[in-house]
């Protein structure tokens, strides 16, 4: 399938809230059911959640998918898909989403964007910073389903902010992977940040190829990108941006491309170029949200 066709599998559907519950530190876990014809998302992709009227906000809210499970077939037809989200209600829109109860309807557009290339060769190293854990839970699920072992590196400022640690443990256990924790204050695991921890781990990797899939604050992702470039470890980073449409139309979520990526875009053939049409900026929604370390200019990203 061409790049263009792959990106145009999204649709806008009405989903039903299956359940929503409190999580540690004000975080919420939300589960939505969408009909069977919704395209099965991959880890790192996102959806746009739109509240049904009356809504306190106009635009939909981009939200990273933390889990996707196809339910049992019903009457010989493929089952619906259950989508899980781990998020923190920080603004008017997400607070309204947090108030949705089981049975409520919400509009879902997706799956959107480019996810993690989990098929990439090498031992997957999943690196989560704080609430950035959401898509990596899904990545761990997918790797476990393939029976692939992974290293899961999870960092936060303090142990209470290792949100979703229980879920991470479960998934890693399934695949027989290893969990590494880091906290800035040393209240749990390694004392320091995930990049310092990666430095230690990398010393043990020897010549075994590894590949990083990460999500977290942009500062952390920039540091991981530089780590990857320094050590020749491919790194795939899930970025965030304010968005309007989420589908590449409004051009509202630019991220600065690196020099090499600019050259590469200019050299692309017609079809790919029309998707990645802008040599200066990549769009978070359709070129990403998952980018390779050498795609972006990390000096310009805050």
């Amino acid at each position: 399938m061409s790049v263009a066709a792959k990106q145009r599998l999204w649709k806008q559907v009405t989903a039903t809230v299956v359940m929503q519950r409190d999580y540690a530190r004000g975080f919420r876990w939300l589960e939505l059911e969408v009909a069977s014809d919704f395209h099965m998302p991959v880890a790192g992709q996102f959806v746009q959640l739109l509240l049904t009227p009356p809504s306190p906000v106009l635009l939909p809210r981009p939200m990273s998918i933390a889990g996707a499970v196809r339910k049992r077939a019903r009457a010989g037809k493929p089952g619906p898909i259950e989508l899980g989200f781990l998020y923190s209600p920080v603004g008017v829109g997400t607070r309204a989403i947090a108030a949705l109860e089981a049975g409520a309807s919400v509009e879902v557009t997706g799956p959107l964007g480019v996810g993690y290339p989990l098929e990439a060769s090498g031992t997957p190293v999943l690196v989560a910073g704080g609430r950035g854990v959401a898509p990596l839970l899904m990545a761990a699920d997918a790797l476990a389903a393939q029976g692939r072992k992974c290293e899961f590196v999870f960092g936060a400022r303090e142990k209470e902010l290792l949100i979703g640690l229980g879920e991470a443990r479960e998934r890693i256990a399934k695949a027989g992977g290893r969990l590494h924790l880091a906290t800035d204050d040393g209240s749990r695991g390694f004392k320091g940040n995930v990049v310092q921890l990666l430095d230690q781990l990398q010393a043990q990797w020897g010549s075994t190829p590894h590949v990083i899939h990460a999500c977290g604050p942009h500062g952390m992702l920039g540091a991981i990108a530089r780590f990857g470039l320094r050590h020749g470890v491919p790194a795939h980073l899930a970025m965030e941006s304010v968005m309007a449409c989420g589908t590449g139309v409004c051009r509202g979520c630019p991220l600065p491309r690196s020099q090499s990526a600019r050259q590469a875009v200019l050299a692309l053939g017609a079809e790919a170029a029309s998707l990645k049409g802008n040599p200066e900026f990549a769009m978070c929604c359709t070129d990403g949200p998952v980018f390779e370390a050498h795609d972006l200019d990390w000096d310009l990203i805050e």
Binding site: R8, W10, K11, Q12, L50, P53, V57, L58, L59, P60, G93, E107, T109, S241, V242, M243, A244, C245, T247, G248, V249, C250, R251, G252, C253, P254, L255, P256, A270, A273, S274, G277, N278, P279, E280, F281
Partner: protein, 330 residues
């Protein structure tokens, strides 16, 4: 005493003729996509049948490709959004060679939006695209609020608009639609200037210049100080500008600004618009524009309106009755 107008008997939806004419261009219905909110048409083609729309106004194309403004480009505000995109587009050649053939394939009625910093740039675009199959009309973007050169402020000078329209008029037989900025003292002046220069129609209006401040950081919430405000927040403002423009000229006016529903669209028609554009609504709901078409048709059928000309411009400010408040309609 009833304070609603006496409408005709309801008719079947199939009896409602929504077609409208913009210069020599017949549109199957009056709903267009607003420039910059529907890409080059193909982005939404898998979820929207472009043939169900009156037409697709493309993202503004300029002579050279443009990368657009630095982040942040979007800030949501109460009932609206600010954008500072800065005319990012693929440029004339890729528009002609890649985007236009795809739009032809999708059988959309295409209105190509063009933008330039000088009359000569606009002329270059019209000369290059005028002979292309599949373009039904041009919309001249005289009103981008987000570029340093060739933006709304530069163009909002009646003499410049009239001269430029006069120059462009000589280059093509296709209908020319001038898209106006609302940020002027008197939109009647810019509207009349475009008409005098030979415009076939006007679009009223582009976004309003606005700001949003992150108070804690005392910084703009956009990459630049200002952006263009769109969405339902501007509908009353846009309606007033559209009404004023429509009353000032004889050529058709295309209403634009905050339209989310068929009712919104019909309010613009009642205020004097011949057609409408749906913009920000598409970011919320990809299928907003075709939904507006069917809602317009339903409303007209229910009220016995067989042609939009029966409603167009019938808005009256006259009767100052004291009326009981009516419940808000969605």
């Amino acid at each position: 005493m009833s304070h609603t107008r006496a409408w005709g008997k309801p008719v079947a939806g199939s009896k409602v003729d929504l077609s409208v004419r913009i210069g020599s261009l017949m549109l199957r219905n009056p709903v267009l996509t607003a420039s910059g909110t529907f890409g080059y048409g193909d982005e939404y083609a898998h979820v929207v049948d472009l043939r169900a729309l009156g037409g697709v106004v493309t993202k503004t194309v300029t002579c050279e490709p443009r990368s657009g403004n630095p982040p942040t480009r979007i800030a949501e505000t109460p009932s609206g959004m600010l954008n500072s995109i800065g005319l990012e587009n693929v440029g004339l050649h890729r528009f002609r060679d890649e985007k236009l053939p795809r739009l032809r394939e999708l059988q959309a009625t295409v209105i190509a939006s063009v933008g330039g910093e000088t009359p000569e740039e606009l002329a270059t675009l019209l000369n290059a695209l005028g002979g292309e199959r599949g373009i039904g009309a041009f919309e001249i973007n005289f009103s981008c609020p987000n570029v340093a050169a060739g933006g709304a402020r530069f163009w909002a000078v009646p003499k410049r608009l009239e001269d430029t329209m006069g120059l462009l008029r000589r280059l093509t037989k296709l209908p020319l639609i001038a898209k106006l900025s609302p940020d002027v003292t008197d939109i009647r002046e810019t509207a009349r200037a475009c008409e005098a220069g030979g415009a076939d129609a006007l679009t009223a209006v582009n976004t309003f210049v606005g700001m949003a401040i992150d108070l804690e950081r005392v910084r703009s919430r956009l990459g630049k100080a200002t952006g263009g405000l769109s969405g339902p927040a501007i509908k009353p403002l846009a309606l007033a500008r559209c009404h004023e423009a429509a009353n000032a000229v004889r050529i058709p006016v295309i209403g634009s600004g905050g339209i989310l529903t068929g009712r919104d669209a019909l309010e613009f028609i009642a205020a004097g618009a011949t057609a409408v554009q749906v913009g920000t609504a598409t970011f919320v709901e990809a299928g907003a524009a075709p939904r507006v078409v069917s809602e317009m048709r339903e409303w007209c059928a229910r009220h016995g309106v067989k042609q939009l000309s029966e409603l167009r411009g019938t808005f009256s400010a006259a009767p100052a009755q004291v009326v009981a408040p009516e419940p808000a309609r969605p």
